[in-house]
Symmetry: D2
Subunit: 360 residues, 4 copies
Amino acid sequence: MFVVMASTATEAEILGVKSHILDEGLTPFGHAGAQRVVVAVVGEIGSRKSSLMGALGQLSGVERVTPISRPFKLASREFHAEDTVIRVMDAMIGDGSLTVMAGPCSVESRDQLFETADSVKASGATVLRGGAFKPRTSPYSFQGLGVEALRYLSEARERTGLPIITEVMEANQLDIVAEYADILQIGARNMQNYSLLNAVGRMSKPVMLKRGFGATIEELLMAAEYILASGNPNVMLCERGIRTFETYTRNTMDLSAVPVLHSLTHLPVLVDPSHATGKRWLVKPLSVGGVAVGADGVMVEVHPDPDKALSDAEQQLTLPMFADLMAAIVPIHEHVKDMHGDLRAWGSVPAAGGGGLSKH
Amino acid sequence: MFVVMASTATEAEILGVKSHILDEGLTPFGHAGAQRVVVAVVGEIGSRKSSLMGALGQLSGVERVTPISRPFKLASREFHAEDTVIRVMDAMIGDGSLTVMAGPCSVESRDQLFETADSVKASGATVLRGGAFKPRTSPYSFQGLGVEALRYLSEARERTGLPIITEVMEANQLDIVAEYADILQIGARNMQNYSLLNAVGRMSKPVMLKRGFGATIEELLMAAEYILASGNPNVMLCERGIRTFETYTRNTMDLSAVPVLHSLTHLPVLVDPSHATGKRWLVKPLSVGGVAVGADGVMVEVHPDPDKALSDAEQQLTLPMFADLMAAIVPIHEHVKDMHGDLRAWGSVPAAGGGGLSKH
Amino acid sequence: MFVVMASTATEAEILGVKSHILDEGLTPFGHAGAQRVVVAVVGEIGSRKSSLMGALGQLSGVERVTPISRPFKLASREFHAEDTVIRVMDAMIGDGSLTVMAGPCSVESRDQLFETADSVKASGATVLRGGAFKPRTSPYSFQGLGVEALRYLSEARERTGLPIITEVMEANQLDIVAEYADILQIGARNMQNYSLLNAVGRMSKPVMLKRGFGATIEELLMAAEYILASGNPNVMLCERGIRTFETYTRNTMDLSAVPVLHSLTHLPVLVDPSHATGKRWLVKPLSVGGVAVGADGVMVEVHPDPDKALSDAEQQLTLPMFADLMAAIVPIHEHVKDMHGDLRAWGSVPAAGGGGLSKH
Amino acid sequence: MFVVMASTATEAEILGVKSHILDEGLTPFGHAGAQRVVVAVVGEIGSRKSSLMGALGQLSGVERVTPISRPFKLASREFHAEDTVIRVMDAMIGDGSLTVMAGPCSVESRDQLFETADSVKASGATVLRGGAFKPRTSPYSFQGLGVEALRYLSEARERTGLPIITEVMEANQLDIVAEYADILQIGARNMQNYSLLNAVGRMSKPVMLKRGFGATIEELLMAAEYILASGNPNVMLCERGIRTFETYTRNTMDLSAVPVLHSLTHLPVLVDPSHATGKRWLVKPLSVGGVAVGADGVMVEVHPDPDKALSDAEQQLTLPMFADLMAAIVPIHEHVKDMHGDLRAWGSVPAAGGGGLSKH
């Protein structure tokens, strides 16, 4: 449930509400919106619900207490009406600007990374991506350079000024990865690795959570909720294709997820057409499409010589292709930016809990 | 296989090739491209393949004979390199302009249809849609006004000058529907109704074939091949969402299908966000997305008072919403038009048969 | 809604109820169960619901009127509690015995059919299958021998005494197919071809309706409802695999659909492991599995020389393989027969409309 | 690749082969079959393939060297022809006997666990299951009693003599869970948590790996390969339903996966109808079906009072229901046991790599 404070509520009154919640063995999460403060109550409420709503409603400074039937609370627009904006070095994500994360699937050498980094920076990328620890379907495939790759990424940040995103695969790696990376990526296969979600949730470093290829939109938001409920508000989401019967593309990119997520949550939403399609020549049209439906950013794989790449050779762009991609998406973003708020407001979001179907 | 004629081949030589093919009990389909004529050989070739290729290769005026491993022949870019352009009254479909088909899910009354038709015409629609015979999951749901609706559609065409598209559900209806409609729609549930495909194939009236919600891209093209092989070259395709595990939207709109289809086939490709999403407020962003990935057109459902609609109430747009939609997509189309040929040429189409996987 | 008559209701009272329903422009369907007669009211009831329930409840001989929230009415267990049993010549389907439909995918010649028919009869098949008109993904594939095949099937019935099942693909074929066949098959691709459903519904000949590979269980039942509502009560259902992301098998056989259907409907349920798996060596274990979960029968493809078959070569069984299959499934059926009623009764069926989710 | 040793090869010759492989920076895995020893070579072989095959083929005692195109090596039947049999206390898994794992979804109290354990033991269960650390979609749901639950499970083992299986969710928990559990379960959401797979691979304790609901059969085998390649040969697999568009059941149980897995791998295969269907009344028919298609065992959730369960209330069986289930499946298993080897041998397994489609 959410406790909506009066616009005149004092700090002491807000504190009083939080204390009451803590006394019940539950956890209060406050969000100061433009107009008023909302305090979310999370934890196992169960049968206490109506008595608790009554008690909280009587506290000083409380305007009203509203139940929420959605399973995600802190991730919801009801709790946090304004878009979350995440600052990483000079890059702003979710503020209406276009975030472009580009770089090689795997960091393979210092030279390969630097050549890519310099080129994508020149073309307009705002974040540098590169895999250090790689989750691979086969135990016999290249698993990444590990810490060596992290060091190269760090050097590339020095060269280019671009913040760095790289995947973290397990809680044990978290300290070392967080030492180098500016944004922690949780990969699709780990979207429901709750230990890892809790671990990144206990940090304040920004996290990009990719949708599992077998996961619903609601489950993606529940996974984000794990991170938020552990204390880290800096979460962005990424649609990267879901599993369907269609075999032409590797996965089916679910572009409807972008406006759906924008209606349900305040978190930034990116798209990853490289993994969604698995085919180089589809990356550009689907990037254009992703930006057009309102994504806050795009993540694409770029390699100086894709045919020699140690992983994902078929889907990485060459450096000139990436420049061409940027030339295509920047003006589209400029164009849809004007209709953006409009896009979100056009159809009113369905009432809480009314839109989707829960199947756990 | 395709017989590629020399650029200097005479009519008599082309006729000679066609006669030879007919003598083999097979069917020749000629296509006169910008440079040269290509004759496709269709039918059950089986073990005759190499001897037939040899014999055809020796005929006068033949430059070369090429096998084709794709299961679709006449629908393929290999046979017919240029985009197919379909003219319907004053509307051109597939020529680079933006086709917008709009109108009510079902024609419910003369007034409802006229009000909608006048309004969508004013907003810029190029084709008027309206259901006369409705395929419904339940036998107890409203099944459409039938011939009465066809008459209203015909009157609406007189009023507005817009050509009319309506669904034909069975071969027996074909004569009456074709008497009134300018474009015949084959619905998703009938995509593999081969009797119906053959029947519309024996006409010359344009056909819009919707992808079945359980059908692969390759199966959509094979269904189009049925119509083409029966003699009707005026076929356009429509992506309207596929069935996946995601339950938030009615279906998952497969926008990657648009560039994939543009690479594989010369037929125009439209998108239908109304049926794909099943939710009114998602129609605009997904229309924008569809135009952005290069669709030749959009089909949307519009109703003067959607909440009172006899079918698909949740997904039909109001008249002002449609005007708003047009204001959004027209400039996007203007914008991507410049990168359009580029989009198709960027990544070369995989070699024949190499891209997808056949699972019949 | 259902009008449940008192156990003492007279013919005249039942007739009175039906007349009242007809006067309302709706259609009454009566079913005489073991205890009492139930009259289903079908058609567009809409806002008349409560007044109509009141009026019917006051008629003489009526015990109670119950609303039904499921979209399927005549197909439901609520309307028709006992299993439907269909007699075709000497074969009984749905009475607890094991129905086995076997024969070639396509009838290719008199010899091929007779050899198969004699052999499957000797091994214990109860119905002979064989395709005359074949729905093929490609217009260039073998489309069946047509009427010639129907004649061979008819001769094979004379030889073996087995009733014949063959597919009907369009309403126009119905007269000729029904002249020869004992059971009409509606194929998966035509499951929502409503014209065809209505046409077979106007006959009394038994119909086997196959589940579309993109169709939910509820949609299968709605398709059956079309046939039932047109007047033909002799409908049996067939699970033949659905489309999923798994590519090892052609489709994913949904064996849970068998007990689910037995709980929701009174119609017999068969399984078709040949089409579900697409692989010969999986037909036996999945047939065993289908019988074990309680299917009323199995349909399998059998060919004297599968490698030379004109269609579905990879999935047809040899004649000895079919004999081996029969040896496996007959004792399993004997075994589960004892737990059969039990299987259906074990867990109570969820309340009407409560089990599944409607997404049209 | 596999190095097949001559049947007369000495220990020294086998050691020579392994040394050569190690010198190449690759890892040898030996398997002593009934006839001869096979040494699998795993690691990044790349372009060395043909020269390495030549060199190994010349070594003393080598009969032949065969390439393997499947991505899984150690999990394949080609490497290890006989069924893997895993012994856990007195229970044998994969030896042709029927394994039944039963117990509550979550351990909720000592009493609840003991009551369940005593009852399932009396009904014939061979392994006791119970969740201590629970992966839950929502961070606010009951997450299990943790170590306290492990202690109760250990006490229950003392009472009943049944070995214990419980889920391990992260590498950090592994030591404590392994101290109490006899079989470690990797849940569906963690099937591609490679850190966890490697960690359990470094132990010798038996592992049950559940198929992810979005994972193909091939990916399940690749996940098993991670464990095997890390050194732990004691792996069993569990089919628990995949995500499809069907919404009636929670997931769609893929029973064809059982014979497919038996053909591709030597590892035992179990089924979990509780999670696959999500509905109590479907657990019995699907357990019967799973045993009938040849599963080595069944895992089911049982609770003294399911309606009060803290998790998965809708799918847990009562104690008498479980007794009823046992009475149904034991004789089915007796029956199919005789056709079991037969089931696996009936159709020959497709040649290596020939059966499925790889899409990573």
